[in-house]
Symmetry: D2
Subunit: 326 residues, 4 copies
Amino acid sequence: MKALGVAVVGAGRIGELHARHLCGSIEGGELVCLVDPERERAEKVARGRPVLDSLEQALELSEVEAVVLSSPTDLHARQIEQCAARGRAIFCEKPVGLELERCERALEAAREVPFQIGFQRRYDPGFAAARQALEQGRIGRLEMLRSLTCDPAPPPIDYLKVAGGIFRDMAIHDIDVARFFGGEVVEVTAVGACLVDARIAELGDVDTACVTLRFESGALGVLQAWRRAVYGYDVRAELMGSGGKLVVEEEGPLALRSYRGEGVLSDFYDGFLSRFREAYRLELAAFVASVRAGHSPTPGPHDAVQALRVALACAESLKSGRTVRC
Amino acid sequence: MKALGVAVVGAGRIGELHARHLCGSIEGGELVCLVDPERERAEKVARGRPVLDSLEQALELSEVEAVVLSSPTDLHARQIEQCAARGRAIFCEKPVGLELERCERALEAAREVPFQIGFQRRYDPGFAAARQALEQGRIGRLEMLRSLTCDPAPPPIDYLKVAGGIFRDMAIHDIDVARFFGGEVVEVTAVGACLVDARIAELGDVDTACVTLRFESGALGVLQAWRRAVYGYDVRAELMGSGGKLVVEEEGPLALRSYRGEGVLSDFYDGFLSRFREAYRLELAAFVASVRAGHSPTPGPHDAVQALRVALACAESLKSGRTVRC
Amino acid sequence: MKALGVAVVGAGRIGELHARHLCGSIEGGELVCLVDPERERAEKVARGRPVLDSLEQALELSEVEAVVLSSPTDLHARQIEQCAARGRAIFCEKPVGLELERCERALEAAREVPFQIGFQRRYDPGFAAARQALEQGRIGRLEMLRSLTCDPAPPPIDYLKVAGGIFRDMAIHDIDVARFFGGEVVEVTAVGACLVDARIAELGDVDTACVTLRFESGALGVLQAWRRAVYGYDVRAELMGSGGKLVVEEEGPLALRSYRGEGVLSDFYDGFLSRFREAYRLELAAFVASVRAGHSPTPGPHDAVQALRVALACAESLKSGRTVRC
Amino acid sequence: MKALGVAVVGAGRIGELHARHLCGSIEGGELVCLVDPERERAEKVARGRPVLDSLEQALELSEVEAVVLSSPTDLHARQIEQCAARGRAIFCEKPVGLELERCERALEAAREVPFQIGFQRRYDPGFAAARQALEQGRIGRLEMLRSLTCDPAPPPIDYLKVAGGIFRDMAIHDIDVARFFGGEVVEVTAVGACLVDARIAELGDVDTACVTLRFESGALGVLQAWRRAVYGYDVRAELMGSGGKLVVEEEGPLALRSYRGEGVLSDFYDGFLSRFREAYRLELAAFVASVRAGHSPTPGPHDAVQALRVALACAESLKSGRTVRC
């Protein structure tokens, strides 16, 4: 069977990763071209494939059967519509967009094409195994959940200006994790503070946030997001069930411990690219496999919209100091 | 220097433990008598010391220089006043009481005698070392905290009827942990659910609760309490600071792992008595040492009152669905 | 720069792995053809590349610039000579052979071509980081070492008949690990027992073995090999140095722990393919990169010969019950 | 039932510990007097009990029903005989002595009185639980064992002069651990090196040693002893069985991890007193309980002699470079 031809739009850190994966390490998928107006950066990433200036050009190529959107968030909705109009399968980095109505419109337009949203944690082997264990009844019925994400430092302030705030940009992963394990979220209550960088407060945003949530099932959850883990990139999930608990905690890339005068020392992940290296490859492999097999990829449009809806409710709760229904 | 003579009031599980500690394993403290109307139970615990029916009788004995109150919560306030009136040092199990005003009145009456409240986690070697590391600046300024307590199962329903609800009975330890590390709490937002036992809902109580809180310092926190950890008694704390993170996590009593066909297996604590075995001894040893040295014991009356105040605010927030100032 | 064309000889488990890696996940290397007389098995692995019956045929193809020998051990020496005579770079699975003199002769014939031996542990991220830490002086001078390998079960008895015994087949990895960290080994003392399968004793072999060794540097070491770890594939190394200790211990593929009534459970590796998945890819990537760059690959012929020499000394010590100089 | 009156002979580190335990924390046992010619040191430890110059004086006291010998090793045999002649129960620190014949003679003289040897690891909760799991068949039949002891640094050279060498002084604990789990040892092969302090070599001793051993059962074992673990006091045991593996590994006293820029840091035990704190208390409590109940204490005279026998065989093997039957 012929490999699926893919165009990658956006040659930033994550676009580069997707492009690299499509040059060999994903079975059945192959990079056709790279789209980025910053040609120099794109050339480095393209491994000899053509670099194009616009998505339109890529959509002209019949070999392009699917498109990976790792462009800036504010372009996603329009690009989804373009791809959908030309019948191409779409893999879109999270979030689809910052406004719910705009996203829903774009996803409505894309309802006839395969669509996957880039919530890669679902493909992390630890998270995936936890989900499987949960489905197999290993811990009974879920009663409480905790999801934590800590970035080593805030991203550049210019990025934060357009990122949509801590919930849509960062905690949206925890929200998706919550939904992945617990199903739909019906209400959230958020508190936040700006403790790391005062400029973040000037944007009306926070860098430290805690959210409690209630699932449709009746279970409760806690999400925490923090932009100053000087020790690295820290992601954890804890699932408390009526029959036990599951914990997904991966601290470092190396099975090496050093015993020295100051104690026992081990390494920690330095960023999301190292922590979720395998997950990024597996999510794209799953997308490629789904498209080729004619299955709906997952997580899909509903997951993209619902996570955004919960993120917006968090933001509203943070502002109002009240519990908000999603 | 002569040992401090101590009367223990109440020969339940925790009273028995205190009595045992005062029969040898606490330097400078000695059990004088045990007070419990249920004589049979008390005789077993008393190790040959006299068993008395009432606190009054114990306070008649000049050798009784200090009193440990491990009686039912609703007796604490009155007994504190009795001890204080007779000039005896007081160690009181948590909580001092269920009503703030009543507790404050009792503690006001006791302001001239040494008073320590039984928040034993402060004396757990791991928690104590975390506090020391925090004070030494090892993780900079505290920005976020998480404290978790999971009981293996709900206590008997008759106990729950008088225990004052999950916040005053159980999460009060997490509240004290929060204050121990983060200072005063200024607002809380609580959610809760009754998932474990429907009779708990009939009492107007919950068995699963999540709280977000804000410290006076600006830092944030999350508390979680849950009454169904089928795997054991689970207590954790996580302190995120501007310069690093501290985690207090002790899973089991044994340094033993079993490698078998089903995987790698290790043990978990079965209850608070095993998890905090050393802490219970150390808190009482500290009380005895403080009284003998003429120092104020810690945690003291202010800590008792403030934890109760925050617990009450949590209960109010749970009911109202709104953030509550403490 | 053009990719290096590689022929893989032998389509068994490890040959299949190398072939797969050369179809995309190793930059700069590309599978040209697969050599295996069992065509059916080979076709499955070849991913559309030609399947040839003999190495001779592969060496006729000018695109074949390097050869991966994952054929049966007794063919290695002859195949090395064939490849060398035709000037091809060689990656050879361990061991090069069972007889020292024969191996030395083959490697002498290959002294003009790039040669790498398949001691993949050197490329495991944990082992590699330990070596780097050792070289950086993180634990001072090495004084004692321990290397452990446990197989879940003995391989098929027909394999064992030709595998050369536990030291040349299995502990040779521990021997290479010892040399990787501690340099040359000057004497060994081995004990062994047949505890797992009596048929192994009939072959004159053992399934459980312990070796003490002395390095040229004066340091000591312990190697342990065992063929019955019912819980999985267990590999560990411990490096004790004058300034600290390094431990390489990787228990399972998943960052997932289950907390259940019976305790805390985590997963364990089920075999060498999962434990050293990344190492197998990295060793071949390093080979390809070395050949393309014109560097000598590592571990090279000297490492192949020395490990075999030590393995033979172990076997002799086991038989004689005496310390043997290597 | 009356408490057992105990005299402690020798007020060094370990004698002080035993004396302290007998002043409250061991039920049913009570310190009667302390024997040490260095009165000043002894007074500090005696907590008000009389300090005597000689064992003879203590044996005159009828309240002295049992004697703890924590005197220098070369006095043990004679003191055992004295205690036995006066019918007193004996707890003797390891080793009973340095010469096998002398020890056997002393223990023969003591065959009518309760006798326990101070191999405290058997009472460590982790080691004890491992033994219980082994007896319950949790890992089937033992096939291989590893025991490791690392001291942070060599003891003072003057101590080493009379300590009898690394096997009788230090590895004797590992030998007892081996016997505890695996039964009788029938042969040993030892290698050693002096890497830490050249003065140790001048004494004819080593500071780094590895031993392989064979049990009567057919199982194999490895012991390692090392006098330079700069990170602390490191004791580990690994039991490989036909049905699984047990590992006893306790790294530090605190359930605290620090996450900082340099990685994740945790504490390590600084010495045997902290690592085996509980074990020292439990072994003495078991001795007291056995004597009071009229049971034979364990480990007993046979264990004392056999461990010494194996230690001497190790020393002989080290000298001769050959396997030695025990």
